[in-house]
């Protein structure tokens, strides 16, 4: 990891006008002058598309900075952006804050309630030996002055943004009772150009779309990124040989290996919960895609389905004992469950509608997300596995590729916005959502990574 400090990447209105732009431009020029790797692609724009009716009012006071070690990163702005982006919080604008405390004992409780905040977050960035930085913060009930959380995160300067996301995770959990998933990453595919002259990039970014890192680029299609359970590897499909192949790549180093390039289809890799196997789709020579399990250590291949239909898009149940997959064996695509061993018999899971595909299972195993045909439009739906109840969560016409956040509270998926492919999120209760757009080209095929250790 580089010790390079992390620049702010937050909007002008949070950063004090033109100065923020000037600083960003300087940092950009500095980065170019130093010959650093170029950005994975142009930055994503985030648009919050819906929020709850009564978001929690909170004040995130600017943290005591530590220039220049903190690289100008506005930790409180990152936290504010995370919490507001969740659709469940409303942050007090800085100009309306009655004071700028940085410690819990400096907070005068009554003054914050008067400003309309139920909670106040204060904190500090400080040096912590051998070049590391510490982020200390307190979450305080503005009514009573009670301290709800006090925590310290220590790490390299380059991890300061991650520390800010961890602050967001704690605040989210203390107030809403659900573990936050801000300090996680997403993988997705960005595509520029028109077929067949396309440029594909496989990109990893923070869950808020910032901190992009180019994993792989190709003139040929890249598809279906899947995170290993430990968050170190991505499996994906590449057509770089003019034929589909499945690759496994260590994200940190770029080291990669081809794990399947058989005749016909090689697709839809998904890691087993123990990280030792991939479920995948192989087409055989006869063009009849079936589900297989590949042992990554031994290369042993076990055939799970054997049907003249298209069987694809396998995903593991959290206990690793069964797979869900898409099959058109009954005439139209539907989702089935099958034991994760040869000779098992599939059981149909979806019964409503003529198109249900691309299953993903919630981390607690109770819900199935999928693409469903809803009044002529392809949308993201969630089926409760116990009751069978289906709820359509998205509102687009060409929504696809749902992926659960590791806390199960949110889904990310790809959608079409006019001529552009964008990423979107929706809470599994349907109440909040946002969009991530590239200024040019398309972004698609998102996969939400696991919690970081």
């Amino acid at each position: 990891m580089s010790q390079r400090p992390v620049p702010d990447s937050y909007p002008r209105r949070l950063r004090g006008g033109a100065r923020g732009v000037a600083v960003s431009a300087m940092l950009a020029m500095l980065a170019l002058a130093l010959g650093l790797p170029r950005p994975a692609s142009a930055a994503l724009e985030i648009e919050v598309t819906s929020g709850v009716r009564d978001p929690v009012p909170i004040a995130i006071v600017p943290f005591t900075p530590l220039p220049p070690a903190d690289g100008g990163l506005d930790v409180a702005a990152v936290v504010q952006h995370d919490l507001e982006g969740s659709g469940r919080f409303r942050a007090l604008p800085r100009e309306r804050m009655p004071a700028k405390p940085t410690r819990a004992d400096e907070i005068v409780a009554g003054s914050w309630k008067g400003a309309g905040s139920d909670y106040v977050v204060v904190g500090r960035v400080s040096a912590s030996g051998s070049g590391d930085l510490a982020v200390d913060f307190d979450l305080v009930n503005a009514l009573t002055g009670t301290r709800l959380a006090t925590q310290r995160f220590v790490g390299a300067a380059s991890a300061l943004r991650n520390a800010a996301h961890r602050v967001s995770d704690v605040v989210y959990q203390k107030i809403l009772g659900v573990r936050g998933a801000f300090a996680t990453r997403i993988a997705y595919v960005a595509v520029d150009g028109t077929a067949p002259a396309q440029h594909y990039q496989l990109i990893v970014a923070d869950a808020d779309g910032a901190n992009q890192h180019l994993v792989l680029e190709s003139r040929f299609p890249l598809m279906s990124p899947a995170w290993s359970p430990d968050g170190h590897y991505l499996a994906y499909v590449s057509f770089e040989t003019k034929h589909s192949g499945i690759y496994v790549q260590l994200v940190r180093s770029g080291e990669r290996r081809q794990v399947s390039a058989r005749a016909g289809v090689n697709g839809a890799p998904e890691w087993s919960p123990d990280g030792r196997k991939l479920a995948l789709t192989l087409g055989g020579g006869g063009g009849n895609p079936d589900i297989y399990i590949l042992d990554l250590a031994t290369q042993d291949l076990a055939r799970i389905t054997d049907d003249p239909a298209i069987d694809t898009e396998p995903v593991w149940a959290p206990d690793g004992r069964s797979l869900y997959f898409t099959s058109d064996r009954a005439g139209s695509p539907q989702i089935y469950q099958i034991g994760a061993q040869p000779g098992a018999h599939p059981k149909r899971i979806t019964f409503s509608g003529t198109y249900n595909a691309r299953p993903r299972v919630s981390p607690d195993g109770t819900q199935l997300a999928m693409v469903t045909l809803d009044n002529g439009a392809y949308r993201i739906a969630v089926q409760d596995l116990a009751s069978g109840t289906v709820r359509v969560l998205s509102h687009g016409r060409l929504d696809e590729s749902p992926s659960f956040a590791p806390n199960g509270a949110t889904l990310i998926y790809s959608a079409r916005d006019g001529e552009r492919g964008v990423l979107a999120t929706v809470a599994t209760d349907g109440l909040t959502g946002l969009r991530l757009k590239a200024p040019e080209g398309e972004v698609r095929d998102p996969a939400w990574g696991p919690f970081n250790p």
Partner: protein
């Protein structure tokens, strides 16, 4: 998702500088390493940033025959269907006859779908279309050794739009004549 009073629209532009500087703390970008064509299986180690995809993929496409129906290289399909019909029947018959008469010639059948539905299911559907054309070619004179298939699903549309007119052009199999024998086949 209802239009409630507190629905907010906050557009936040993330500054490029973050991506620029932060690229530094992670691994280097990797271009696809050249890999042996169509290896049956097996892990092959490849270092980061080894080579570009272009080097691994010399242009293997040939002009191919141009007389009459042979100049037509695309077969179109109905939604969620792999049935060859109408003009496609004659196109496939012409190519089958040509391949039967020229046993050294090789083709790759590239199956495609429209953009609707899920990507990997569409890979399966594109493969089914390519196999449908393959079987028709085999029945009418071509031999198995002459034909390989690949499905790109919805990844490589021929028409860029998002309506039925574009979708109809994208549900297709392209017959690509090759300069070299089918990899992995004698």
């Amino acid at each position: 998702m209802t239009e409630n009073a507190s629905m907010r629209r906050v557009v936040i532009v993330l500054v490029v500088a973050a991506a620029l500087a932060l690229g530094a703390c992670a691994g280097k970008p990797t271009k696809p390493a050249p890999s042996a064509p169509e290896t049956s299986e097996g892990a092959q180690g490849a270092g980061a940033g080894a080579a570009s995809a272009a080097a691994a993929n010399p242009d293997d496409e040939a002009m191919g025959p141009q007389a009459g129906l042979l100049a037509t290289r695309v077969v179109y399909f109905d939604f969620d269907s792999a049935e060859i019909k109408g003009a496609g029947t004659d196109v496939v018959a012409a190519h089958a006859k040509y391949l039967g008469a020229h046993p050294a010639i090789r083709v790759r059948l590239e199956g495609h779908t429209d953009e609707r539905g899920s990507r990997e299911y569409n890979i399966g559907l594109g493969e089914r279309r390519a196999q449908s054309v393959r079987r028709a070619l085999l029945l009418q004179g071509a031999t198995d050794v002459q034909i390989s298939t690949v499905s790109y699903g919805e990844e490589r549309p021929a028409a860029p739009g998002h309506d039925e007119a574009a979708w109809a052009k994208n549900r297709r199999v392209e017959i690509v004549y090759l300069t070299q024998p089918v990899p992995g086949k004698p």
